[in-house]
Symmetry: C2
Subunit: 172 residues, 2 copies
Amino acid sequence: MQKIKYTAFIVSSIDGRISKDRRGVVDWASDEDWNFLQSSLAKMDAVIVGSNTYKVSKERLEKRNTIVLTSKVKKVRSVGSITFCNPQHVDIGSFITEKGYTKVAILGGPKVYDFFLESELLDELFVTIEPVIFTAGIPMVTGKKFKKHNFTLVAVKKLNKKGSLLLKYKKI
Amino acid sequence: MQKIKYTAFIVSSIDGRISKDRRGVVDWASDEDWNFLQSSLAKMDAVIVGSNTYKVSKERLEKRNTIVLTSKVKKVRSVGSITFCNPQHVDIGSFITEKGYTKVAILGGPKVYDFFLESELLDELFVTIEPVIFTAGIPMVTGKKFKKHNFTLVAVKKLNKKGSLLLKYKKI
């Protein structure tokens, strides 16, 4: 049985904010980050999102094998390529294994990133830091308490002239 | 009259957190970041901090020309090399000009960084991103509302093997 590889993708401001509010559409990120994300997702078997991220990206996610983590269902419920799962009741790893997926992208939001950190499933992380400070808004990751999740930086790439910076980390 | 140059220094987790809580001592940052900060501060005329940052770094700041921004004084009050200023009542720029300082370091915390962004005084920013995610804690910058402060990335330096990354930005 092949191990599942979980890769998180995040685009953030310098100060670690990913949108203005919960319904925030990411219209401030660079085209270069967008292109990187799209070409990366093309190589993935499935994507995982939370219900807010699902709401703002519904149309685009319909093209993909999408797992929506939500507390609003008890059993697994599928509509087309979209599957709604409650991680309190369903073992996500087993579900993904059954489906035969091995390359899975985690696309947020903050609680979903935290879930994969806390359950020690996350393998790698791509963060694009756009050269902007927001001073307020939704933080990249939201957990219940302060904790130290260690990574190693494995690659750095400047995506454009203004300095959108793509960082690749591996979980230790 | 020489223009004053304001440079902010920040050490942060990947998710934009700078400490566990308000009294948080930064004991998790790399030695390489610490060495960079110390050698940078040696070239500065003065440092500016908020009252919480002052409290946790009191002894080290006593060696430097330090301006503490605080709402707890009305007039400027000096004790040795430490000066307490209320930015509501005192024009920081004029005060620094009078003192003859031209290279000024902004050392935080979150509201102090925001103050220099909001007043459009900040010229450049050094951010060291340590390869760790905290999921909770104090955010790098805290403003009253979501706003877009644009920067350009001018330099990237990997400080050590695990990948503490020093980024230099200029304000646009």
